[in-house]
């Protein structure tokens, strides 16, 4: 892997993007034995407003903790997709929700337009588990973190009694 693998999870406040970032970073740092740093950026609102969570994964120590040349971008709103695509590396991965993001960016990217919100709603009836569905997609696509580690990190972070629900969402 290159020195830094940079992930940005973007969307709106309340979509669980910070928690998803924490889980992804914990998977890399605590279960895969790598270094990881997670940061966040959000507005003063509890719900709505732009929100993003970033994870840097590296075999080396990580100085600057924010993403500047992104390897993987998750977009759960059209606004986030429009705003952040320009920070993506060439051949970088975009995972965009097929319900929320209708206008996909053009450029030298690998784009996955996935039914993240719909999967959360139809399979569980709860759109708020969309973050865990998205993590499942990321865990399948990214070599820098193993699926087993993401699963372990999810189960150690989610509320008691929802482990099976979250496991089902992750495995999809």
């Amino acid at each position: 892997m290159s020195e830094r693998y940079e992930v940005r999870l973007s969307g709106a406040g309340g979509q669980g993007l910070v928690l998803a970032g924490v889980i992804l970073a914990e998977a890399a740092a605590l279960y895969d034995g790598k270094n990881a740093v997670q940061t966040q950026s959000y507005g003063p609102e509890a719900r709505g407003g732009a929100s993003k969570s970033e994870v840097i994964i590296s075999e080396f120590s990580i100085d600057y903790p924010k993403a500047t040349e992104i390897d993987l971008l998750l977009c759960l709103t059209q606004e986030a997709c429009d705003k952040y695509t320009s920070d993506l590396k060439k051949k970088g991965i975009i995972i965009a929700d097929s319900r929320m993001v209708k206008d996909l960016p053009k450029g030298d990217y690998v784009i996955y337009n996935l039914p993240i919100m719909d999967t959360a709603k139809e399979k569980v009836g709860k759109t708020f588990v969309a973050n865990i569905v998205a993590l499942g997609a990321i865990a399948h696509l990214v070599e820098e973190v193993s699926f087993d580690s993401v699963l372990k990190a999810v189960l150690s972070r989610v509320p008691k009694g929802t482990e099976n629900l979250n496991k089902r969402e992750l495995v999809g």
């Binding site: 924490v22 970073a25 914990e26 740092a29 605590l30 270094n35 990881a36 740093v37 997670q38 940061t39 966040q40 950026s41 959000y42 507005g43 003063p44 990580i62 100085d63 600057y64 903790p65 924010k66 500047t68």
Partner: protein, 377 residues
């Protein structure tokens, strides 16, 4: 308790560090981006034999911290800019009454309520001169989650040993950033307690300096009685305005810091061969600096780096020596130029001093610093 590896936020590491240092009391008023410290200690302190109080505002929280410390409990409060402004009056009270306590300020954009969720380093001068009057000031500026833990422990140790308030100055990035870190085993870091009186209660004078400049401090409720006032006082603790008693006490307050620099000052100095440029930075700007210096080295430019872990007292002598070697000193800080004034004062015109500044709620990027390095090289 054995060593434990966790994935924590800076704010959580501060709270954990406080518990490690023996903190038994927290009073605060929640404010972004420091709230996680209060949340963490509200859960943990009662289980560790301590007490947590959410007060009606930051003024009362600072007062409660001083009161708790007077009973012998190591005490902490956590806040951000707007709350720090409110705590300043009582911070001065803690300075003159010599009550140990630790105040965390997780810096956000200002002035006033400013940018609640955006990082900043614009409280540099407030940490030194925020409360009025000549007073001692110690401010520690950790640059990682691990260091937030160790510097919190050190803040408590310094507060106790020197009987003075200690400010921990972080920012939204250091406070909210999560990293892997190791909670050391119990006993791995030495823990200090304030000096306590050895004389019987009837002979106790609260500001008796016959044994040294840090007078022993009796716990309220332990049978010792003493008068605590924000007025200038003599060794009995009662007010005085006699000039020959006032000034020596004022000078002693300052000497507690200036005569203990060996335990207060802390910095990391990375010197490179033949460098003509140096950078002075702290906190999250120091992380950007480290990335920028690595990139500059790839391009064949060597840059020296002084990373401060203690911001106040400012290590003027170190910066002055740096100026003998390099031609230019760069000062990146997330404000419009505060620490740069201390750097300029320290180099006494021996080197050019230039800033990299940002005040839009976004961190200084490595590329911004790299651009400045290339410009002056």
């Amino acid at each position: 308790m054995s060593e434990k590896v966790v994935f924590y936020q800076g704010n959580e590491a501060c709270a954990e560090g406080a518990l490690y240092a023996g903190c038994k009391f927290f009073a605060g008023y929640p404010i972004t981006p420091s709230t996680e410290v209060a949340e963490f200690l509200a859960r943990r302190l009662p289980k560790e034999g301590g007490a947590f109080i959410q007060m009606e505002d930051e003024i009362a929280a600072m007062a409660a911290v001083i009161g708790a410390s007077l009973t012998g409990a190591k005490s902490l409060t956590a806040t951000s800019g707007p709350g720090m402004s409110l705590k300043l009056e009582n911070l001065g009270f803690a300075c003159i009454t010599e009550v140990p306590c630790v105040i965390l300020n997780v810096m956000r954009g200002g002035p006033s309520t400013g940018l609640p969720t955006g990082p900043s380093q614009a409280d540099v001068m407030q940490a030194r001169w925020g409360t009025h009057g000549d007073h001692p000031a110690i401010a520690l500026v950790p640059g990682s989650v691990q260091e937030t833990f160790t510097e919190t422990v050190r803040a408590f140790n310094l507060a106790e040993r020197l009987r003075t308030p200690v400010i921990l100055l972080t920012d939204e990035i250091i406070g909210h950033m999560r990293e892997k870190f190791t909670i050391p085993a119990k006993g791995e870091i030495e823990i200090w307690d304030r000096p306590r009186p050895t004389v019987p209660p009837e002979e106790y004078k609260p500001y008796d300096t016959s044994e040294g400049i840090i007078p022993p401090m009796a716990d309220f409720g332990s049978g010792y009685r003493w008068h605590v006032t924000g007025l200038n006082h003599d060794e009995t603790g009662f007010p005085t305005n006699i000039p020959s008693l006032v000034e020596p006490e004022e000078r002693r307050l300052m000497a507690k810091v200036t005569e203990n620099l060996d335990i207060i000052e802390k910095y990391e100095y990375i010197e490179k061969k033949g460098s003509k440029v140096a950078i002075v930075a702290f906190g999250s700007s120091a992380r950007s600096t480290r990335s920028a210096i690595a990139k500059a080295a790839e391009g064949g430019i060597n840059v020296d780096f002084l990373r401060l872990v203690t911001l106040w007292p400012f290590p003027s002598h170190v910066v002055n020596e740096m100026a003998d070697k390099v031609d230019v000193i760069i000062v990146p800080e997330m404000n419009l130029g505060q620490m740069i004034e201390e750097v300029e004062r320290s180099v006494k015109g021996k080197a050019e001093v230039t800033g990299v500044n940002r005040a839009d709620g976004e961190p200084i990027t490595p590329d911004q610093i790299l651009e400045k390095i290339r410009e002056v090289s």
